[in-house]
Every structure is written in structure tokens, then in C-alpha cells.
Symmetry: D2
């Protein structure tokens, strides 16, 4: 592979802020993309097991969605609509109701809180506090919910938190499923604090949880743990907020990641793959009795990103009218698990373990350096992978749900080679 | 005009949250838009003096930008790019440097903080606190900076603040220009507090200001007041943040609204019209010595909305390579001012006054009811206008910068009629 | 004067914390005291124009109070009583009602919040927030209300605030009377913020004010300003809290310092001279309709300091059954004012001005160094004086109310000499 | 027993705030006290197993201390001294050094933070935050540290917390020893959070702990748990603050309650019995390298309560020059334990268990009603007892350390009878 660092500093280096990060790991300039592959400006292809951090469940520039988007734009459909009623929004709401809400008997009202995940989390927490008149929100170890102050307060990562520059109050942390490796019965500490008027835990407005912690290291909550949490919330009058921003939209198989557990959260946040095309869009869903907002009490300039509504509608129509995609995702989970199992069984490669659901998987290493080496080597071999976890010690597999069997095998093969190639380095 | 309320509740009423607002004022379903006009689903046209709350400075679906966008999407250019280097981002950065930064000798680094205004404000405040190690930020009466907790804390509107459900600390309010109608010399209170170790004002990290307060009621700061503020910040070691989200991108004539005053803020936020096409995009600009971010310390899923980079680049190329647009905007300011002056001079119409710069103007009424009546009547007459100000008492004129002379005259004519038609109602 | 610094470090230097302060200004070891004088361990007398920072309005070891205290202790009266009913508490409550409340037609309930000023302020603010359900409290520039976190948040002094180690939220500062030297009409900024729903001022629970700011530099609020403030509170539904800890108990003439203005605060805090003997004791008084405390909701180990109740009762009996003390204090105000006027009229001594009420006066110098030099010289000449103000630039006169005419003249004479003696140093 | 409620409301009912509490449980008016007994105004004696909530370890009006106090007052010793050097303070510091610090090889500096427990806790937390530059303080379930905002934030009791009227931030709760009944290894959760950069626990400045939680229900930490905590603090660079306000001064046998565990806290707070006579006094002790206070950075009007210094010195001289009191206290622990053991062994009395150390013991009942009934009956039988614990379900035994054997037996006998007498009521 030829060197990618130019002799003359690029505009990225001279003008873009030091806060940039992915471009450091993947030092090429990407130009186009299609399905499971990106191409750099020299035409070099990369297989994408990163999928826009979960924003591209249907692949890059999915042709069905692309057609709908191009037609809409060409016809001068509304592009920017704040929260005006538009035909594109109506189509989306009707499709969402027919395809997502009604088949699951979910009674949710739909809020457009602004087009990013953190907008949705901020809206969810504001609503939970407004409804209950309480301030404390419980979140979990290694949770990730966003970068604005309200969301950051319920996020665990200390490096992200350090960026706030102010204290991050009104949040209490509880151990995520298996955080203490079974050393304490589930929810014992949480329930004891709730029951004890001397515990110092001010009665929480809500609990916010990811069913699988993506940024936190692909930590997978068991269905019974999620049911236990939902039950705890009900018994102690706390709203249950599922942040399904990364794990929703089919990533774990079902449209919502919490369906497997058979629970119905009070509030759900969606973003990333909801537009289906990588366009900014987010939703906040909640039980109708929680819809106590005053008109405009929460707003935002881009809450009506109509081109995203168009692709979102097309995605619902294409992938969620039947269970084909869901079933395929669940089937592929077995294939990925098998590959990771073999990889971990192969001595000397230092992967400590693997875990996942649907098409989100993590391969854990002893430290972040090894995981980074694996990702670097994979990149050299043409595969995009990122790390996650508190020490960046987990290689995260997030292929498009629409990847072909061959692409899936190809990616797993490259991963296997990258792990092998870096085994020696790690030992040194 | 026929009734627009259907007998059967629409999906907007049954599924969308009560938080929706603009759709209540304009009870039609919009379908397409072009230039200065929107059309509802029945083909009825509306002249747009609202412009996406300042997001559509170049009009709806501007054909130059549209061409670039369609070509990019058709060619499978990268859609979702996080902060990967892409050709679309490079083109934007180069155009922004060549067209905006270098001609103005502005040394800024460019950060992509997530694609909405509140993302940019959160990033700006985090950075100011991180750089200075201080927590307090000074903002102004009737400021509007966004809905996430960090931005809401520096926003004045009590109805918006009430949605937070938690206290909004670390912010101190100062009077905006002319807030006290000249009853106190500019900055006397602010400077006295800064100078006095007993004042109780913890030394601020930064001051955040809009040069014209859009949501706050079209309050226009004088150039000398802005210079005084910049000077105060320099003398007292506070970072000056100009939130140019609504007033930037040519709304007041110059690309940045602060150019007229000849000041150079330490940090600038841009969003709304930066993409030019109404697509979600935001920037945070700052002096290079402030670029102390760790890689990824602030992040966000949609900070690399590449289609928006494409339209942004096209907009810079089309409108900011010379001073044509700027000069036209400044020329039209005189035309609008003349019309509003006549409207206010006409006794019995109860407009209390007008104010503005470039193509942002406000017409103030005695109360919000009258202003709402004017907007309702204008809507019936085919013109979209919204109110702003603490009591929603100011009718806000925000036409596209690309509106034709005829469109401008048409809108001003409708406004005049709407004011006249509602004069009787207000008197009752 | 012989040197007072021993060759061998004292236990004060080796064991006591560096936080100690007065002992640095007055490097002697005091042993006994009586009336207006303290004596050090070598028998050297010092005239006391400091009076325990206002805790010794009736002088040191006042014989009337001393007799009552010794009798009580000798008879094994209850010493420590928490909030048990005791005869000593009953006597105090009856005397306070008969001597203080009923003659002034004040309807207050009496709370024993713990025996220090900051306990009383914390209780007052908790109650105001509990009653109103709001969080913000307005305090004034250069206010001093105490060192615990709740009180410190409404205190202005930056050096004190810096000790908190955490942000001090929920407080908003307003300019004290004459803070802006008349450059703005009284309360214009405050009232404008209250009236404007876009100002960013969350509706305050309460306003806390000192009628004369002792630590803040002997800033004397005019009666009409206090009346204006009381009126503002009433019109805007904010509780008015007068912190009369330093200025109450006759310091300004009347028992309460706010009587002159003819206002009735909703809540009043008292401490310092309420026990009359320098024993720790504090009260929080409030309108009966505010008495919404649950039993024990605020408590404290030493809230029933019965020996203090005994001396407090004796002080009320001795000094507040008629207007003798009050009238004498008001008469002496004229005498002090006359002396300070002459001192300021005398060119070249660099005192900038003076101000005061009753027997609290301040003599302002150009800087803290000069004021400190005056106090140091006064100490050498046998007079105890301290400084106050944001720059410690004000020499504070706080003689016992029971000082004789000769003592008053003596102290004023020493002060005059100290100012003269230090004139040259200041010029250098 | 005749009724104690007068027909005419007393001044306590008409003038004192509803916040009063103990006087409701003990509806008599106390007049004098001596040793272990109080007498009401009718001469009726009560044996005191409450001891001023731990403020009267040496009994009421202890004659040795009384003599010293009367002599001091009679001789016109300094009463109120702020932080001036006085002979009384010197005597105290020298006695404290000689009697307490040097024999235990404790290197502490001594701070007089104001005369109440909450003053001392506020000072301790301010110092810990100032030294470390961090904000979070870890406290424990059912902790009680005081009523001012800084102390209340680390207190567990929800009824007390509700009085704050504002959020209580910067505190994180951990389970106290045996809180989860052994269901989790000690400190597993705490250590896991400290070690994990994704846990969401901002690195704490300090941990504050009581060795025995008095208000929390007489929860006794084991020595190995305290050692584990001290070790955890050292390994993770957190300051260890022992709040010894109620358990210090010999209550558990040793002067400091943490001596048994062999640990040396970084900061220690003392109050309650430090003056020995029930007079307000408090200390904050800390390692000399933590003494980073600026002069006067924390202050308070009554931090120099010299009469308290006199009785404190007398108490140290009388009780802490040898181990007599300590040994006697430890010996009596066995006697109390024996009595409580028999009481719990006796079926049908519904006491669930007992626990304690030295002369602080708790007898736990099924609910607060039963515990209150026991205390009411004990009062009728002439014994003062109070309840504690999150449900007020624990009867707390806190006799003076100076109680005679007969008094101890008498009190335990009355307690036994009170438990028996109330057995039927609880069953109903």
C-alpha cells in the first residue's frame, strides 16, 4: 500500500479542527459508495463493516431509496419544512404507523425533535422530567447517549464527559447487565436504593437504557434483564426510555431491539438508520398520555428534514412490510457468531471473547492497542472496522443488514487475517 | 378560502406529538416549493417571507444547488461520512477557505459539530469552558441559542426554559443593546461586575451574542455596541462567541453579520443557511489557538452530511465569489425599510415600530394577539410570516435573499393589507 | 511597642490551620474583656471598635447578662436542649414576643435553625424555595450571607466563593443601592427582567438583602430603596428576606434595621448579637403562613443553646423594654458622622468618604493597603478596627452600642491619629 | 401520668415554628439537668439515654467542666473571639495536641470552622474539593452529615433532602457496610466504577463516612470494611473524610471511633461532645499538607466560642489523660449487648435485632410505629430515648458515658418494660 500522507498538508490538516477522528484511522479521501462498499478518490474499494456507526443499515446509496430521493428532489418537493405539515411527512407518518406501530400494537405518538440522536435524547429526558416533575435520571455504566449537555450527563465515557467543562448533574449510574459478572443479583442495589428512603437516591424521573451498548463495547443485555428493568420501572413509577438510536431499525433483527424481550418502553428514541439513507433524522416516540408538550416547547430548525422522510418511507416500504430482512438478519447472526467462535477458539490470537445480537458484534481484546492494530490491518486489507468499549478494546462489527453472503464472508475472512497478522505484534 | 380542517382527523393530529407548532398556524399540507414560493397539495401558492426561519436564504430548491445535489447523489457520492475525509468535504473546506475565510483574513479552524444549530452552540460553549477552565457564560436578554440543555441555559425564553425540567445553571444574563432604552450607559453594569471582586459574578469563560436577535424580536445591536462588547471581552479575558446561525450566510448583507461592526469573534457558530438548500449542517469556527480538542472529544453521527457539503459548496461558488448578493441585500434593506416606515406612519394601524438590517426586519405590535392576527390574515392572502419576540408581538420578515423585486413588493403589499384588515379587530 | 512574634512558634502557628485570619492582624493573645475593652495576656488594654463583628452590641461580658448566665449555669439549668421545650426557651420566646414582636405588630413565627448566621440563612432560603416551589434567589452585589454552600451562593465575595470548589447555582445578582452611582434608575434592570418573559430570569423564589452591607463595605441602602424593593417583591410575588444578622439587634438604632424604612420582610434572619453575650444563637423569623416545615425537616444539634436563650432574654429585658438604647444609638450616629466628616474634610489624608447608620460606619480609602495601614496603626495605638469592602478598602467602625461617650471619643480620636500617621505611607 | 397538653396553647405552639420536633415526643418543659438526668419544671426526673444526640457524653452540667466554665465566665475571660488568639484557645490547642493528637501520632492541623457539625462538614468538603480540583464526593446510604446545602447533598434521608428546594448535586452514593447483606463483595461496585473509564463516575475528590451511622439507624461498619475503604481511597487517590461528629469523643470507646480500625483519615470532623458541656463547638482536622486555605477563606462568626474551649480543655484533662473512660465504655458495651440480647431472645416482643459499639446501640423493630410506641412508653416510665433509621424503626441508646452502673441498669430495665408493654399494641 502506498503512503497516503501527502507532502503538502491537506485542507483537512490545515483548516479542519483537531477534533476530527475517523479520518485519522482511515487516512484516505473517500469519494463514492454503494451498498457495502466505499471507494476512495483513487478508486480503491473498502468493504464497510462500520456502516456509518449504524446509520447505514440498508447500505450506502441504496438504489430503492435513491430513486425515491432523486424523484422527490427533482420534483421540487419541500426540502426544509420545520414542523409544517407536508405530503412527505404525511407519507412517512402513515407508513410508520402502518408498518411499525400498528403491527406491534405500539400506541406511540411521534415527535420530530431535531435530526440527530442527541436531539432525541434531550427531548426524551426533558419530557420525562416534565411529566414526572422529578429531575434524576438513571443511566447505566458504559452508556452512550450523546454530546449535548443533557445527553452527556447520562453518558458514561470519561473522555467525552471531560469535554463538558461543567458538572453533569441529575444522573445516577447503575450497573448494566453483567457489569459485575454475576457478583450481585440483578437490580439488587437499584431496588434497595429505591425502596430505602434513606438511600440518598432522589426518586428518578426515568431510566434510560440501550439494549445493546454499541459505543460501550457491544454489551448485550439479556432479555430477562430488560424485562426485570421494565418491571422495576413499573413498580417504582419511573419512565423507561429505550435509546434505540444505534440498535433500532433492524440492527438486532426486529425493527426495535427491545421487541425480543417483549417489553414496551414508555419513551423510545430513534435516529441513525431511520432515514435509511444516512440523512439526518430522529424520532422520539412515547405513550400518548405522556404527550404533555406545549406547542413549540421543544423545537429545532431541521426537525422537518423532508428528503429524509422520503427515504425513510421508502425504507419502511422496502424492508418492513414483511419479515424478510428481520429473518435474514437473525440468520446471519448465527453465521457471524460461528466465525467469531472459531476465531476465539484459535489459540494465540489473544481475542478474549465475542458477543452480539443480530448484526452487531464485538470481538474483545486484552487492550485497546491490539484492537487498534486489528482495525489498522483490516483497513490495509480493505475492510473498515472501528473499536469501542471503555478502553477501545473491542472491535465492533456493524455490517450493513443488506450485505450479501459473500460480503459477509469476505469481511469475516479479512477480520480473521487481521487478527492473525497482528498476533505477533501484540505479543511483542 | 375553503376550510382546511378535515372532518376525519389527519395523521398529524392522531400520530404526531402536540409539540408541533407551525402546522397549527398554517393549516395546509405543503407539497412542493421553488424559489420564494411554496405550494400546498392542492397547488395553492404561498409567498415565503419566513424562509425556513432563515435556513433558505437562497430560496427553495435553488436550481444551481439542486443541480449539484442531484449530480452528486446520482453519482453515488458519499452520503453519510461521519468525520471521514471525503472529496465533498474537501471541496467545501477549500471553497469556504477561499470564499469566506481568506478574503476576510479570518484565521478560523472549522469544526463540524453535528448538523444543527444547537450542536454548534453546545460545541462552542464546551470549547470555551475547556480552554478557559471557567464555567460561567454570559448571554443576553431575549437570546435564543437552542433547545439542548447547554444551549437552553443561555436562551432567554421562559416557555422554552420551562421545558428543561431541571435548573439551567452556569449562565448570567446581561442587557442586550437598547434593552433599557438608554437608561444606562452600555456595559456599565457588566463592566462594574467584572471589575468588582465582590460583585458575585464568577469570571466568565465567554460571552455569547447574536448581532440581531431573531427569535427575540428582531432586536438589532448597533455596530458600536458590538465593538464595545468585543473590546470588553478583550479587556476582561472572555471569549466572544457570535451565534451567527440565523443572521449569518448573508442575511444582513455581508456573509457574517458581524463584519459590519469590524469585529473578529473568537468563536462563531453557523448553521441554517450554510448548506444553502435547507439540509442539516452546522459549523463551529474558532481561532486556531483555541483548537484544543482531543480527537473525537465532541462527536455526532451526522456531522458529515456530505450532500449538504455539496450544496454548501455550490452556494459559496454561486453567491460569495463576488459582492453581488451582498450589495443587493443591502439595497433591498432600504426598500423594506421604506415600506415599513410608511406602514408605521399610517395612523390607526397600531404598529408600534419597525427595525432590521439587510433582509431581516421586524414590525412590532402592541401585543401578540394583533401580531398573530396579522400573520393569520397574511396567510389567508397567501403570504407566510411568523412572529417572534417575548410576547410574540413582532411580525418577522425573512424573505429569501434571492427573492425578486416583484416578490418583495408583493409580500410587502400583502403585509400592508394584512395590517389594515386587522386594525379593526385589534381595536375591539 | 515590643515585638509580639515569639521566637518559638506558638501552638497557633504549628497546630491551627492557615485559615485563621484576625489573629494575623492583631498579633497578641487576648485573655479577658469587659465592656468596650479587651486585654491581652500581658494586661494591655484595647478599645474595641469591632465588637465581635457585630456580635457584641452590648459589650463584652455585660454584667447584667453575665449575672443571669452565671445564675443559670450555677443552678444546673438545661445547657443543651435541641428543640425540647425548656423554661429558658419559654422565657426567651415570651420576652421576644412581648419586647420585639408585639410592639412592632410583627406576626412572625420563630425558628431556631442552628446557632450560626449561615444556619439561619440556609433555613431561610430552604423555606423560601419550599413555599414557592421555585429555585432562583436574587441577592445583591457585595452581599455577605455565609460560608455554607447555600449561603455562599448568594454571597458576592470572589475569594470566599472560590473556596466552594463547586459551582454556586440558583442565584442571580442585582445591583445594590447606589451600586451604579445613579447611572440607572433603581430596580429598572430588575423589574425589566421580571416583566419580560424573554429575559432569561427564572421567576425568583425570594430576594435576600442586607439593609447595610457590613462585609461588603458599609454600603447603606436608603429607606426609599428598601421600600422600592419591598414593593417590587410584593408586585412580583417574591419573598423578601432581610438578613439582619449583623445589622439587627439595635446596631442601626431600632431593634431591626428595616424598621426605619417601614417595611415588613417575609423572612428575617438574626444571629450575632441576639444572645447579647457573644454566645452562638440564631433565629429565622417568618410570616406564619410560610410556616410549612415538617417537624424536623430542618434540624441541628445546637439549635437549643439554652445559656444563649438566658442571656438573650436578659438583653431584651435590659435594653428593649423602652427606647433608651435606640435613642442613644441614633444620637451617637450624629457624633460619629461629625468626626468622620471632619476627618474627610482634612485634605491629604486620602479618605475618600464615609457612610453609615446608627453605630455602623465605614471610612473609605483609595485602596486596601491604606485601609490596612490605618488599622495596623490603630492597633498599635490600642484600638481594634477591621476593614471590609471588595478591596478591603473600607475601615469599619462597629463599637459596642453600650460604649460610653468617652470611649466613643477616644476611639474616634485614635482613628484620626491613625489616619494622619499613615498619610505619608500611602503617598509613597 | 397527668396530661401534659395545656388548655391554653403555649408560646411554643403559638410562636415557635412547626419545624420543632423533639418537644412533640416529650411534651414537658424541662428546667434543669445534672449528670444522667433531666428534670421538668414540676421536678419530675427523666433518665437520659439520648444525651443531646451525642453532645453530652460527659453528662449534663458535668461538675468538673461546670467549675471551669463558671470560673472563666466570672473572671471575664474572652467570650466571643472569632479567630483571634486567646489564652482559652491556646489552652485548648495545647491540651488537644497533648491529649489527643500526640499520643495517637496524628499529625493533624486543627481548624475551627464554625461551632456546628454542618459547618465542619462544609469546611471538610470545601477543602477536599479545593485540594483535589474535583467536585464529586462519595457518601453512603443512610449517611447523615447536616442540613446546609453542602452537607445535605451527602446526606441520605429523603425527608431532609426534600427540604432543600434545589437539586443536591456533586454527590454519589455507595452502599454502606452490610447494606446489601453480603450479596455483593465489599467495594466491588465502587472499585469497578473507579477502574472503568466508561462507568460515568467522575473521579471523586473524597469519600465521607461515619464509622457508625447514628441517624441512619445505628449501622456499625466493621473494622475490616473501614480498612478496605481507607485502602480504596489510597489506591484511587481520594481523600478519606471521617465524620466523627456523633461517634467521636469517646462514644465508641476510643477518642476517635476510627482508632479501632487502625486507619488514619485525611480529614476528620468533630463537634457535638467536643466541648463536653453541650456548648456549640466544632473542629475540622486534616493532614498538614492539605492545609491550603487562604486566610479567612472559610470563616464564621462563632468559630471562636471561647467558653466552649474552656469546657473542652477541662473535658480532655478530666477524661483523656488516661484510658479509664475508654476502658469503662468498652466494658459497658458488653453489659448493654447482654441486655439487648436477652430482650431480642424473648419471643413475642418483635424486636428484630440489635447492634452497636461502645455506648451507642440500636434496637431494631419491624416498623417505625412500634419503635415510636416503645419510646413513648419509655418516656412515660421516665426514660428519654429517640428513634433513628430510614423508617425511624430503630430505638437508639445513647446514654452519657459517665452514667453510673445503676443508671445503666435502670435504663435498660425501663427499656425492657417499654418493649414488653408495647408488644400487644404492635400486634393489633
Amino acid at each position: 500500500m502506498t503512503t497516503l500522507s501527502p507532502l503538502v498538508p491537506s485542507v483537512f490538516e490545515t483548516v479542519e479542527s483537531e477534533v476530527r477522528s475517523y479520518c485519522r484511522a482511515w487516512p484516505v479521501v473517500f469519494e463514492r459508495a454503494s451498498g457495502s462498499r466505499l471507494h476512495d478518490e483513487h478508486g480503491r474499494p473498502f468493504l464497510d463493516f462500520f456502516a456509518g456507526a449504524g446509520s447505514l443499515n440498508y447500505g450506502h446509496n441504496n438504489p430503492v431509496l435513491k430513486r425515491a430521493l432523486l424523484d422527490y428532489l427533482a420534483s421540487d418537493g419541500i426540502t426544509h419544512g420545520l414542523d409544517m405539515s407536508t405530503t412527505a411527512k404525511r407519507d412517512f407518518l402513515e407508513a410508520f404507523r402502518a408498518t411499525v406501530l400498528e403491527p406491534r400494537a405500539l400506541p406511540y405518538k411521534v415527535m420530530f425533535p431535531g435530526p440527530t440522536g442527541t436531539n432525541a435524547v434531550e427531548a426524551a429526558l426533558k419530557l420525562a422530567r416534565k411529566v414526572t416533575g422529578r429531575e434524576t435520571v438513571v443511566s447505566f455504566t458504559n452508556a452512550f447517549h450523546g454530546m449535548s449537555l443533557g445527553s452527556l450527563a447520562v453518558t458514561g465515557n470519561s473522555a467525552k464527559r471531560a469535554g463538558a467543562g461543567v458538572p453533569l448533574p441529575h444522573a445516577t449510574r447503575m450497573p448494566y447487565d453483567r457489569y459485575l459478572d454475576g457478583a450481585m443479583p440483578d437490580f439488587l442495589w437499584f431496588e434497595r436504593m429505591l425502596a430505602d428512603p434513606g438511600s440518598g437516591l432522589d426518586h428518578p424521573a426515568a431510566v434510560i437504557v440501550e439494549t445493546v451498548q454499541g459505543e460501550g463495547g457491544i454489551n448485550v443485555a439479556r432479555a430477562e434483564w430488560l424485562r426485570g428493568l421494565a418491571d422495576l420501572c413499573r413498580r417504582h413509577d419511573m419512565l423507561l426510555v429505550v435509546d434505540d438510536i444505534q440498535m433500532g431499525c433492524g440492527r438486532t433483527g426486529d425493527f426495535f431491539s427491545f421487541e425480543e424481550a417483549g417489553i414496551t418502553p414508555d419513551i423510545v428514541t430513534l435516529s441513525k438508520s431511520i432515514s435509511g439513507y444516512g440523512l439526518p433524522m430522529a424520532l422520539c416516540l412515547f405513550r400518548p398520555e405522556l404527550d404533555v408538550w406545549q406547542p413549540g416547547e421543544h423545537n429545532g430548525t431541521f426537525r422537518g428534514n423532508n428528503p429524509a422522510f422520503v427515504t425513510a418511507t421508502a425504507a419502511l416500504d422496502a424492508y418492513w412490510r414483511d419479515s424478510t430482512l428481520r429473518d435474514r438478519t437473525l440468520g446471519r447472526a448465527a453465521r457471524v457468531e460461528q466465525a467469531l467462535s472459531e476465531l476465539c477458539g484459535d489459540d494465540g490470537r489473544t481475542a478474549l471473547g465475542y458477543r452480539g445480537r443480530g448484526l452487531v458484534w464485538g470481538l474483545e481484546f486484552a487492550d485497546g492497542e491490539r484492537a487498534a492494530a486489528v482495525c489498522r490491518r483490516a483497513f490495509e486489507l480493505g475492510l473498515l472496522l472501528e473499536t469501542s468499549g471503555p478502553y477501545d478494546e473491542v472491535v465492533k462489527l456493524l455490517p450493513p443488514l443488506t450485505a450479501t453472503d459473500d460480503e459477509l464472508d469476505e469481511g469475516l475472512g479479512v477480520l480473521t487475517r487481521a487478527v492473525r497478522h497482528t498476533a505477533g505484534r501484540a505479543a511483542s
